[in-house]
Subunit: 106 residues, 2 copies
DNA sequence: CAAATATGTAACCGATCGGTTACAAAATTC
DNA sequence: GAATTTTGTAACCGATCGGTTACATATTTG
Protein backbone atom coordinates (compact mmCIF):
# COMPACT_ATOMS: atom_id res chain seq x y z
CA UNK A 1 0.00 0.00 0.00
CA UNK A 2 1.53 3.31 -1.09
CA UNK A 3 2.33 5.44 1.93
CA UNK A 4 1.47 8.61 0.05
CA UNK A 5 -2.10 7.42 -0.42
CA UNK A 6 -2.36 6.62 3.26
CA UNK A 7 -1.15 10.06 4.29
CA UNK A 8 -3.43 11.78 1.80
CA UNK A 9 -6.37 9.71 3.02
CA UNK A 10 -5.77 10.89 6.58
CA UNK A 11 -5.51 14.55 5.58
CA UNK A 12 -9.28 14.89 5.36
CA UNK A 13 -11.24 15.43 8.59
CA UNK A 14 -14.35 13.71 7.25
CA UNK A 15 -12.32 10.58 6.57
CA UNK A 16 -10.74 10.68 10.01
CA UNK A 17 -14.22 10.94 11.48
CA UNK A 18 -15.30 7.93 9.41
CA UNK A 19 -12.41 5.94 10.87
CA UNK A 20 -13.41 7.14 14.31
CA UNK A 21 -16.89 5.77 13.85
CA UNK A 22 -15.65 2.47 12.53
CA UNK A 23 -13.39 2.16 15.54
CA UNK A 24 -16.29 1.35 17.84
CA UNK A 25 -18.32 -0.72 15.44
CA UNK A 26 -18.48 -2.04 11.92
CA UNK A 27 -21.20 -0.18 10.20
CA UNK A 28 -23.57 -0.41 7.29
CA UNK A 29 -22.88 2.10 4.55
CA UNK A 30 -26.06 4.00 5.23
CA UNK A 31 -25.53 4.24 8.97
CA UNK A 32 -21.96 5.32 8.38
CA UNK A 33 -23.16 8.23 6.27
CA UNK A 34 -25.85 9.24 8.75
CA UNK A 35 -24.96 12.32 10.78
CA UNK A 36 -22.72 13.89 8.19
CA UNK A 37 -23.76 17.14 6.59
CA UNK A 38 -22.70 15.87 3.19
CA UNK A 39 -24.66 13.51 0.95
CA UNK A 40 -24.45 9.74 1.06
CA UNK A 41 -22.67 9.48 -2.31
CA UNK A 42 -20.06 11.93 -1.03
CA UNK A 43 -19.44 9.65 1.94
CA UNK A 44 -19.26 6.75 -0.47
CA UNK A 45 -16.43 8.48 -2.29
CA UNK A 46 -14.56 8.96 0.97
CA UNK A 47 -14.91 5.28 1.82
CA UNK A 48 -13.50 4.46 -1.60
CA UNK A 49 -10.43 6.57 -0.87
CA UNK A 50 -10.04 5.01 2.57
CA UNK A 51 -10.32 1.61 0.93
CA UNK A 52 -7.67 2.41 -1.66
CA UNK A 53 -5.44 3.55 1.20
CA UNK A 54 -5.82 0.15 2.87
CA UNK A 55 -7.49 1.59 5.95
CA UNK A 56 -10.97 0.10 5.67
CA UNK A 57 -12.68 -2.72 3.86
CA UNK A 58 -16.24 -3.82 3.24
CA UNK A 59 -18.01 -7.11 3.23
CA UNK A 60 -21.28 -7.53 1.45
CA UNK A 61 -24.07 -9.15 3.40
CA UNK A 62 -27.24 -9.39 1.40
CA UNK A 63 -28.03 -5.98 0.01
CA UNK A 64 -26.14 -4.30 2.82
CA UNK A 65 -22.46 -3.47 2.82
CA UNK A 66 -20.68 -3.58 6.15
CA UNK A 67 -17.61 -1.44 6.51
CA UNK A 68 -14.91 -2.12 9.04
CA UNK A 69 -11.32 -1.15 9.75
CA UNK A 70 -8.96 -3.12 7.53
CA UNK A 71 -6.70 -5.49 9.48
CA UNK A 72 -3.56 -4.14 7.80
CA UNK A 73 -4.56 -0.57 8.60
CA UNK A 74 -2.84 -0.62 11.95
CA UNK A 75 0.44 -1.45 10.31
CA UNK A 76 -0.10 1.21 7.67
CA UNK A 77 -0.66 3.86 10.33
CA UNK A 78 2.26 2.55 12.36
CA UNK A 79 4.56 2.78 9.37
CA UNK A 80 3.29 6.26 8.73
CA UNK A 81 4.02 7.37 12.28
CA UNK A 82 7.52 5.97 11.95
CA UNK A 83 7.99 7.92 8.74
CA UNK A 84 6.78 11.10 10.38
CA UNK A 85 9.08 10.58 13.32
CA UNK A 86 11.91 10.56 10.81
CA UNK A 87 10.62 13.85 9.47
CA UNK A 88 10.40 15.19 13.01
CA UNK A 89 14.02 14.28 13.53
CA UNK A 90 14.95 16.74 10.80
CA UNK A 91 14.39 19.55 13.23
CA UNK A 92 16.96 18.10 15.61
CA UNK A 93 19.48 17.79 12.80
CA UNK A 94 18.71 21.34 11.82
CA UNK A 95 19.79 22.77 15.18
CA UNK A 96 22.41 25.34 14.47
CA UNK A 97 22.21 24.63 10.77
CA UNK A 98 21.76 28.24 9.83
CA UNK A 99 24.81 29.11 11.87
CA UNK A 100 26.76 26.44 9.97
CA UNK A 101 25.42 27.78 6.72
CA UNK A 102 26.70 31.27 7.44
CA UNK A 103 30.11 29.92 8.44
CA UNK A 104 30.46 27.92 5.23
CA UNK A 105 29.58 30.97 3.22
CA UNK A 106 32.89 32.66 3.88
CA UNK B 1 -1.58 26.17 11.61
CA UNK B 2 -4.30 23.85 10.32
CA UNK B 3 -3.32 20.23 10.88
CA UNK B 4 -4.99 19.20 7.63
CA UNK B 5 -2.63 21.39 5.64
CA UNK B 6 0.33 19.90 7.46
CA UNK B 7 -0.74 16.35 6.70
CA UNK B 8 -1.48 17.18 3.07
CA UNK B 9 1.91 18.88 2.74
CA UNK B 10 3.65 15.73 3.95
CA UNK B 11 1.73 13.47 1.58
CA UNK B 12 3.95 14.44 -1.34
CA UNK B 13 7.33 12.70 -1.68
CA UNK B 14 8.95 15.68 -3.40
CA UNK B 15 8.04 17.87 -0.44
CA UNK B 16 9.37 15.31 2.03
CA UNK B 17 12.60 15.27 0.07
CA UNK B 18 12.74 19.05 0.24
CA UNK B 19 12.42 18.88 4.02
CA UNK B 20 15.12 16.24 4.04
CA UNK B 21 17.51 18.55 2.24
CA UNK B 22 16.72 21.47 4.49
CA UNK B 23 17.43 19.29 7.50
CA UNK B 24 21.16 19.37 6.90
CA UNK B 25 21.43 22.93 5.70
CA UNK B 26 19.47 26.04 4.93
CA UNK B 27 19.52 26.46 1.24
CA UNK B 28 19.13 29.04 -1.48
CA UNK B 29 16.03 28.55 -3.61
CA UNK B 30 18.05 27.64 -6.67
CA UNK B 31 20.23 25.11 -4.89
CA UNK B 32 17.17 23.60 -3.29
CA UNK B 33 15.65 23.00 -6.70
CA UNK B 34 18.84 21.55 -8.16
CA UNK B 35 18.79 17.78 -8.51
CA UNK B 36 15.06 17.44 -8.94
CA UNK B 37 13.70 16.21 -12.23
CA UNK B 38 11.00 18.86 -12.16
CA UNK B 39 11.40 22.52 -13.04
CA UNK B 40 12.42 25.25 -10.64
CA UNK B 41 8.98 26.90 -10.65
CA UNK B 42 7.46 23.54 -9.75
CA UNK B 43 9.76 23.34 -6.75
CA UNK B 44 8.80 26.90 -5.91
CA UNK B 45 5.18 25.85 -5.72
CA UNK B 46 6.08 23.05 -3.34
CA UNK B 47 7.96 25.43 -1.08
CA UNK B 48 4.90 27.64 -1.04
CA UNK B 49 2.78 24.72 0.16
CA UNK B 50 5.37 23.78 2.77
CA UNK B 51 5.39 27.39 3.90
CA UNK B 52 1.59 27.52 4.20
CA UNK B 53 1.82 24.35 6.27
CA UNK B 54 4.20 26.05 8.70
CA UNK B 55 7.02 23.63 7.97
CA UNK B 56 9.56 25.93 6.30
CA UNK B 57 10.23 29.62 6.03
CA UNK B 58 12.46 31.85 3.94
CA UNK B 59 14.58 34.85 4.67
CA UNK B 60 15.60 37.18 1.94
CA UNK B 61 19.26 38.06 1.72
CA UNK B 62 20.05 40.33 -1.16
CA UNK B 63 18.60 38.81 -4.26
CA UNK B 64 18.82 35.33 -2.78
CA UNK B 65 16.17 33.65 -0.73
CA UNK B 66 17.36 31.25 1.94
CA UNK B 67 14.94 28.53 2.96
CA UNK B 68 15.13 26.75 6.28
CA UNK B 69 12.98 24.57 8.49
CA UNK B 70 10.46 26.67 10.36
CA UNK B 71 10.99 26.69 14.13
CA UNK B 72 7.38 25.73 14.81
CA UNK B 73 7.55 22.85 12.36
CA UNK B 74 8.77 20.41 14.96
CA UNK B 75 5.72 21.07 17.06
CA UNK B 76 3.46 20.75 14.04
CA UNK B 77 4.91 17.36 13.19
CA UNK B 78 4.78 16.33 16.84
CA UNK B 79 1.12 17.24 17.05
CA UNK B 80 0.52 15.34 13.85
CA UNK B 81 2.16 12.21 15.19
CA UNK B 82 0.03 12.46 18.31
CA UNK B 83 -3.07 12.73 16.17
CA UNK B 84 -2.04 9.72 14.12
CA UNK B 85 -1.36 7.73 17.25
CA UNK B 86 -4.97 8.40 18.19
CA UNK B 87 -5.99 7.07 14.81
CA UNK B 88 -3.76 4.05 15.34
CA UNK B 89 -5.53 3.38 18.61
CA UNK B 90 -8.75 2.84 16.68
CA UNK B 91 -7.49 -0.54 15.65
CA UNK B 92 -7.14 -1.58 19.29
CA UNK B 93 -10.67 -0.45 20.03
CA UNK B 94 -11.84 -2.33 17.00
CA UNK B 95 -10.62 -5.68 18.27
CA UNK B 96 -13.59 -7.97 18.32
CA UNK B 97 -15.81 -5.21 17.09
CA UNK B 98 -17.22 -7.24 14.24
CA UNK B 99 -18.09 -9.98 16.68
CA UNK B 100 -19.90 -7.42 18.84
CA UNK B 101 -21.66 -6.12 15.77
CA UNK B 102 -23.02 -9.53 14.89
CA UNK B 103 -24.19 -10.09 18.45
CA UNK B 104 -26.06 -6.80 18.56
CA UNK B 105 -27.77 -7.64 15.31
CA UNK B 106 -30.00 -10.27 16.89
C1' DC C 1 -44.40 -10.08 -9.27
C1' DA C 2 -44.44 -5.34 -7.64
C1' DA C 3 -42.89 -2.02 -4.38
C1' DA C 4 -39.52 -0.54 -1.33
C1' DT C 5 -34.82 -0.40 0.41
C1' DA C 6 -29.65 -0.19 0.38
C1' DT C 7 -26.04 0.84 -2.19
C1' DG C 8 -22.77 2.12 -5.77
C1' DT C 9 -21.94 4.73 -10.07
C1' DA C 10 -22.27 8.31 -13.77
C1' DA C 11 -22.24 12.92 -15.12
C1' DC C 12 -21.38 17.20 -13.91
C1' DC C 13 -19.30 21.33 -11.25
C1' DG C 14 -15.81 24.46 -9.28
C1' DA C 15 -11.41 24.35 -6.82
C1' DT C 16 -6.92 22.75 -6.27
C1' DC C 17 -2.71 20.07 -7.55
C1' DG C 18 1.43 19.25 -9.93
C1' DG C 19 3.55 20.27 -13.83
C1' DT C 20 4.99 23.30 -17.88
C1' DT C 21 6.82 27.72 -20.43
C1' DA C 22 7.13 32.57 -20.57
C1' DC C 23 7.67 36.69 -18.18
C1' DA C 24 8.57 40.37 -14.51
C1' DA C 25 11.32 42.28 -10.94
C1' DA C 26 15.10 43.08 -7.94
C1' DA C 27 19.97 42.83 -6.91
C1' DT C 28 24.78 42.06 -8.72
C1' DT C 29 28.35 42.49 -11.70
C1' DC C 30 30.93 44.37 -15.44
C1' DG D 1 24.00 52.04 -17.13
C1' DA D 2 23.68 47.58 -19.38
C1' DA D 3 23.93 42.72 -18.88
C1' DT D 4 23.47 38.84 -15.82
C1' DT D 5 21.76 36.31 -12.07
C1' DT D 6 18.24 34.85 -8.77
C1' DT D 7 13.86 34.40 -7.86
C1' DG D 8 8.82 34.54 -7.85
C1' DT D 9 4.53 34.81 -10.55
C1' DA D 10 1.14 34.41 -14.43
C1' DA D 11 -1.16 31.70 -17.68
C1' DC D 12 -2.12 27.51 -19.11
C1' DC D 13 -2.87 22.23 -18.99
C1' DG D 14 -4.70 17.70 -17.60
C1' DA D 15 -5.84 15.07 -13.44
C1' DT D 16 -7.94 14.64 -9.14
C1' DC D 17 -10.84 16.19 -5.16
C1' DG D 18 -14.96 17.01 -2.77
C1' DG D 19 -19.38 17.91 -3.54
C1' DT D 20 -23.99 17.59 -5.99
C1' DT D 21 -28.26 15.23 -8.38
C1' DA D 22 -29.95 11.58 -11.05
C1' DC D 23 -29.83 6.89 -12.11
C1' DA D 24 -28.88 1.71 -12.23
C1' DT D 25 -28.67 -2.45 -9.66
C1' DA D 26 -29.45 -5.94 -6.39
C1' DT D 27 -31.99 -7.61 -2.56
C1' DT D 28 -35.96 -7.70 0.62
C1' DT D 29 -40.59 -7.35 1.61
C1' DG D 30 -45.61 -7.28 0.86
Amino acid sequence: MAIDKTIAALADPTRRELLHRLASNPCRAGDLARGFAISRPAVCKHTRILGRAGLIRAKKIGRERIYELAPGGRDAVGLLIKKLEEVGAFWDTALGAFKRYLEEKQ
